[in-house]
Symmetry: C2
Subunit: 184 residues, 2 copies
Amino acid sequence: MASPRRLAYFRAMPEVILYIAHSVDGFIADRDGGIGFLKPFDGWDFGYDAFYGRVDALVMGRKTYQDCRTFPEWPYRGRPVVVMTKGPPLDGDGLAVFDDRTPQEILIDLEHAGRRRVWVVGGGGPVRAFLDAKLLKRIILFQIPVILGNGAPLWPPGRRKVDLKLRRATTHLNGVVETEYEIG
Amino acid sequence: MASPRRLAYFRAMPEVILYIAHSVDGFIADRDGGIGFLKPFDGWDFGYDAFYGRVDALVMGRKTYQDCRTFPEWPYRGRPVVVMTKGPPLDGDGLAVFDDRTPQEILIDLEHAGRRRVWVVGGGGPVRAFLDAKLLKRIILFQIPVILGNGAPLWPPGRRKVDLKLRRATTHLNGVVETEYEIG
């Protein structure tokens, strides 16, 4: 049994949330790394603003960061962004910090900085890392009505079976099915 | 433009339906080929009887057939069952026919036999084959609230992007999300 001190420690950890769109066959980008399959669903109100207003830090992989840098404007201004990468820092303009440490270490730092809700933006690498570290607590998925056939998987292979609790399922009129799950 | 004769031919082809349960990360069996993750949802009324009453032929892969043969009773008595396999026939007791031909050839035979609705039971091989042959018309998925990490994929890699139309999404109180898609 955990000691009260240990319990108190875990209760203070920020909630880590995955919030992501994927194809019916589980891809978050096509074989060329593109996200053109999301295009027909642009402009639809999926409740993103409300979600974004509730998170106070972002974590993403190197590839996701590079994709976001191709947008006309950096979409996450004002929010701390941690890029998980074993490689060297990609940019020095301060829009993100580059971190080669474990999910646990990153999360402890975010907790010390007073962050309460962390959005794991993608891709599969950080998702798997936070899931395996048992730090992922909430999963919000947007299933796009398309089969891509190949591409970047949302769920790279892992060893652990994880039971989920369905909290909510929402059918959007454009054919996107949104589900929200909690872990343990 | 297709000739009227050609249209009439296609209109006569049986409707091919995928109806299957999968984990959130897209597996239909765990790494040992087991389906224990479905066990907690046994006995729930997912509308299977109504669905089964509407199909009049079944197609499955070799592995799925072998799994079904381990059940105390053959679950598909009275329905023609085609097992797609490049290997030799597995059994001679007439519960299934073993067929090494293409989805198109199999479907034409079923049509000649007066079959109107064909259930692709699984696994990933036959699903991919019918999808690639543009013969899969309806997809009914039961998303089980679990992440398996590894196993037999519902969607083996393919080359073709396929747009789907969401027809229905149903949230079952045990946490299973059912979606029904049509293919153009």
